[in-house]
């Protein structure tokens, strides 16, 4: 009986101790504003996974600070994005994490700016986001990084002519125009074809590429549904191109699994090869947490969501340590960021853009995604010329 009382007493002491340490760890509220429904639901959900993994990893490795995430769905609508930021601010969040689509991010980050909250994202590449005087805005990727990767690959492949097919959405048309300008300045013959985001049949455009442009490469600047439409039309009409190159959401394991006939030899931007190889400690802990929570291989959206969130959580924690949370401390700490991350070194310029962002190019080869550009990070050689048919 005496032993039982002793055990109960010991257990109570341990419980008190645990309670004390939990009470000591302060709770930092972070607002997440993302499109979880509507047209951008897929990309929003992908980024949200990375954010949740970042919160999990941060909370497990920090005893002093714990982040608590409050998520609001912006329904892929700009007005709802503003409302989401205002709602999160009213709940006392210290910063806003997330956002996808430049047209949603612009008004949402404006609202955050007015409320004095930091807004960090990886979902908007439009340059106007960083050139409109938003003091508290930060992003870890940009159009220039994607453009650099595409131009770098095309230059290495010594391509002479390119047909650019691009969606008329803000981010895609901005990137396509920059790509056209840069390639033209390098002496490459470029023909650009804008397409409406609602288009489903790409055969008339591909036929123009086949019969009029006669380009060596088709560059696609769009989204998953556009890529599928373009690649299907190309597979039917078989233009005499040597390669098909795209940007985001293309060199992913999901595309390889869902559309095995369309993806062989297609290029797209990729952070990591597939199967993913995580060499750093941070990469390994991210991969472990992601697979534990979501029971699947992490994708690029998850990686970007993770990186932006970890940078934000660490900045908030540093500001909390310095007691500057209420004095613009989070923005100050974000500006001081200089970290090696899963997407490379991140430093923010005075307008909040990532100074060092440069993407890599991957190619679907068999069931793998091989990094083929830049040479320094390459995990294999490009199959060139190579098309899916």
């Amino acid at each position: 009986m005496k032993n039982t009382y002793r055990r109960i007493g010991l257990a109570a002491l341990v419980a008190c101790g645990l309670g004390l340490s939990a009470a000591q760890a302060d709770e930092l509220l972070v607002g997440v504003e993302l499109p979880l429904t509507g047209t951008l639901a897929r990309v929003g959900a992908g980024m949200n996974e990375g954010i949740m993994v970042a919160a999990d990893v941060f909370n497990k490795t920090n005893t002093k600070h714990q982040v608590k995430i409050i998520t609001v769905d912006n329904e892929s609508a700009p007005a709802k994005a503003i409302a989401a930021v205002e709602k999160l601010a009213s709940q006392g969040v210290l910063a806003i994490d997330g956002g996808y689509g430049s047209n949603n991010i612009a008004p949402a980050s404006d609202a955050a700016n007015k409320l004095g909250l930091v807004y960090v994202t990886s979902g908007g590449v439009d340059d106007s986001l960083v050139n409109s005087g938003r003091k508290n805005f930060f992003r870890i990727n940009n159009s220039a990084g994607y453009q650099k990767a595409m131009v770098g690959l095309l230059s290495d492949l010594k391509v002479k002519s390119v047909s650019i097919l691009y969606s008329t959405k803000e981010a895609t048309s901005g990137l396509a125009h920059d790509l056209e300008k840069t390639l033209t300045s390098k002496g490459v013959t470029v023909v650009a074809h804008a397409f409406d985001p609602a288009i489903t049949d790409f055969k008339p455009i591909i036929n123009k590429v086949k019969l009029q442009d006669k380009s060596e490469v088709i560059a696609m600047v769009g989204y998953e549904n556009d890529y599928v439409g373009i690649l299907r039309a190309a597979r039917v009409l078989k233009p005499s191109v040597k390669a098909l190159v795209g940007v985001w959401s293309l060199a992913t394991p999901k595309m390889a699994a869902d559309f095995p006939d369309l993806m062989p030899n297609v290029y797209g931007t990729a952070v990591l090869p597939f199967p993913a190889e995580f060499k750093t400690t941070e990469g390994k802990s991210f991969n472990e947490a992601y697979q534990r929570i979501y029971k699947k291989e992490p994708d690029y959206l998850g990686q970007f969501g993770y990186v932006q969130s970890m940078l934000l959580f660490n900045a908030i924690a540093r500001a909390a340590d310095k007691g500057t949370l209420k004095k613009d401390g989070v923005a100050e700490e974000m500006r001081k960021t200089d970290s090696e991350t899963l997407i490379g070194r991140v430093q923010f310029s005075s307008n909040g853009d990532n100074l060092n962002f440069s993407h890599r190019m991957g190619q679907h080869q068999g069931n793998k995604i091989v990094i083929v550009w830049p040479q320094a990070d390459a995990t294999g050689k490009a199959n060139f010329p190579g098309v899916p048919w």
Partner: protein, 290 residues
């Protein structure tokens, strides 16, 4: 240039057939009940996602999803009817709001069940090229163009030859007079919703087989179907086909001769032009009966 235009015409005709199949159900309910079912696109989408489940879950060709889609979509369509049928006042306006709400609910149900990923068939057979002279298409496009024509013929036959089809036309023409003739308007309207469900089920499987679907795509389909229905003239089946083909060809020619960025603008321009010149649509006569 001739080669380009010929291919554009061919692509436009195939695209028009696909539009017609999607618009038929909406046109039928609109003609029969004067109800614009704004959830029709979501019914088509529901069928497309069932085709996805059948293909990737059971490993079958998406065509075999049609029987399952028929049951699920027709039951959903009947539920829409029962909700709309409860409206006693200003049915035309109130049903708009109600079916819009049902569309939002269906979109979110699809999102919950199938997640937000874009989906399309992985079937090699469906995606293979079919080349006839200078004309290129996927096998699935030709297959479902033929299915679309057959469905339209069957619907036309049903409306003009069968007892229930005639009853639908009678109720559409004069609900009270039809009642006096011994026709149960409620039951007849239910039948028209079921037939619209059948059309939506087939359209969904077709869409999944040659296109790409995502949960937010339903409203796009409804808008397209609505434009064709108004373009055709209320209640006209041949009008739906002609209107859809016109829209498909106009879009494809715009892409070929100008830019794809203008194709939606041209579609809407055509819609406004037809309404301006022929306010009752291409085949809608003033005071038309049935």
């Amino acid at each position: 240039m001739t080669e380009l235009i010929l291919q554009a015409l061919y692509s436009g005709v195939l695209q028009g057939g696909s539009y017609a199949l999607i618009a038929l159900g909406l046109a039928l309910v609109f003609g029969a009940m004067k109800v614009i079912n704004l959830a029709h696109g979501e019914l088509v989408l529901l069928s497309a996602y069932i085709a996805y489940s059948v293909e990737f879950g059971l490993g079958w060709n998406p065509i075999f999803a049609i029987p399952i889609s028929l049951v699920v979509v027709c039951l959903t369509s009947m539920m829409v009817y029962f909700v709309v049928g409860r409206i006693k006042k200003d049915r035309e306006i109130n049903s708009l709001i109600l079916t819009y709400g049902i569309g939002v609910i269906l979109t979110n149900v699809i999102l919950l069940i199938w997640k937000a990923d874009v989906r399309s068939t992985g079937s090699t057979w469906m995606q293979e090229a079919m080349v006839v002279g200078p004309f290129y298409s996927m096998r699935s496009e030709v297959l479902f163009f033929v299915v679309s024509l057959v469905m339209m013929g069957a619907l036309w036959w049903w409306l003009s030859r069968s007892w229930y089809g005639r009853a639908v036309r009678a109720v559409s023409s004069n609900r009270d007079a039809a009642k006096l003739m011994g026709i149960d308007p409620g039951y007849t309207e239910l039948v028209s919703f079921v037939v619209a469900g059948i059309l939506a089920a087939v359209a969904g499987v077709a869409l999944y087989s040659y296109g790409v679907v995502s949960p937010a795509y339903g409203s796009v389909l409804t808008v397209k179907a609505f434009i064709i229905t108004v373009l055709a003239g209320i209640g006209s089946i041949p009008g739906v086909l002609i209107g859809a083909l016109l829209l498909g060809v106009a879009e494809a020619l715009t892409v070929t001769l100008a830019s794809s960025a203008l194709q939606e603008l041209v579609g809407m321009g055509l819609f406004l032009l037809v309404l301006f010149v022929m306010p009752n649509g291409l085949f809608g006569a003033k005071g038309r009966r049935g």
